[in-house]
Symmetry: C2
């Protein structure tokens, strides 16, 4: 694909470097990570700064992400109606299960939690919203992947060299693919210790009026609290996604 504006791409990548870095970065450091000359990086930074996407610390001379990104980020949320739509459902799910409930959507080749409702438990598991993670790593994400065409599933599973998070993470592509089949058959996913040790997730899909999957809902909590109540939580989760799907116009066949 040569239909790409190289400097714009560089600007985007520069910004994304900050996602996995300390809050401030210098020109030299950025030029190494981007493999660009210091001069080029400096021009990028001043352009981005003049538009409010980057800020320079006057004392340290180092650079940080600017407030315009905060404006744009909140706009993404307000644009995304499913977030508002899901709020009352997640609330209810939390009040009935006493565990964290999240809404997970797919964005190109990643999964993201776009809404969450924390449990009121003093000891509670929390997730990081709005950060991408692989479509095979959590139960909510795997539900999304399960309802995608097989070619896409293979593309995802081949691409990454399967990140391993815990001793119980997946080790083979075949293992995941079997699980994806199971998810479609049962209509839900329940799994422990894949992404975080001692944590169990129960997830199910939401469909729209065209029958396509739009998001997934997951209840997540410490395994020793969730496992004893797993049937009850599963029923609540399934009831929730059915209600949500119905409201989106989905008719069960």
């Amino acid at each position: 694909m040569d239909q790409v504006l190289s400097s714009v791409r560089n600007g985007c990548r520069l910004l994304k470097i900050f996602l996995d870095s300390p809050k401030e970065l210098g020109v030299t450091e950025l030029s190494k990570k981007l493999q660009l000359s210091k001069g080029a990086v400096h021009k990028l930074l001043s352009t981005l700064e003049s538009e409010g996407f980057i800020r320079q610390n006057e004392k340290t001379k180092q650079y940080t992400l600017g407030y315009t990104l905060l404006e744009l980020g909140t706009k993404v949320l307000t644009n995304h109606d499913i977030v508002d739509f899901s709020k009352p459902f997640l609330d209810q799910l939390v009040s009935r299960t006493n565990e964290l409930a999240v809404l997970c959507v797919q964005d190109s080749k990643d999964a993201i939690y776009v809404a969450k409702e924390d449990s009121l438990h003093p000891v509670r598991f929390t997730v990081e919203s709005f950060r991408r993670f692989p479509l095979y790593s959590t139960s909510a994400a795997r539900v999304l992947l399960a309802y995608q065409p097989e070619e896409f599933q293979d593309e995802i599973l081949q691409e990454h060299p399967l990140k391993s998070y815990t001793p119980h993470s997946y080790t083979s592509v075949e293992q995941i693919k079997e699980d994806l089949v199971t998810i479609r058959e049962r209509g839900y996913e329940i799994s422990s210790n894949r992404r975080n040790t001692g944590v169990t997730g129960i997830a199910a899909p939401i469909f729209d009026s065209t029958g396509h999957i739009t998001a997934s809902v997951s209840v997540i909590g410490p395994s020793d609290r969730v496992m004893p109540k797993k049937d009850e939580i599963l029923q609540e989760t399934l009831a929730t996604v059915r209600a949500m799907s119905a409201q989106l116009g989905y008719r069960m066949s």
Copy 2:
């Protein structure tokens, strides 16, 4: 200033157009607003899309802001320690005044509310966080402006053709400049109906160890509730900013 990468600037401006537009926009519309050819806009969009900054609705073919902006936006917040720092202070202020409390910072030539704590009142005034507004428009913003060099104040007040929000908004530059002097003399601002009719704000500055202003705190609410208690609220606000400044190492002279 010709030290600017034009395509990067165009990309940034394209993204910002979405801030004041419906959630989806088409190529033609964007090309008009940017005054660029359709082809150029299309290249911009595909580049931004490949980096996750833009998403295309497959049905309508129109474009929206992408999730990467959400990631970056939340990163801005976690980077910004003053937001976390201010949380307990705002909480306390709300519990004592029963009105909305906000933290306001300056970003280049604008003001932004970067943290807020809603009042528990059933009828409550709310503000939009993370959106820019002029440094002369709200009490919290004017406090920030009041402690800036006079040249900068003039620059700000000359630049805009003073936006008018309510019948009681400022109409002349002189009027604002007088108010800025008063703010410095008194160390706080209290004003009604400038930005929103029937709303009163009480704001005061936070200083760091070098004596520079870093942010301002404001209590905002319906005038008929705030005005009768204004002395009490003012004292609470002043106590809060003094405590915050002290913790940042500021020593009162």
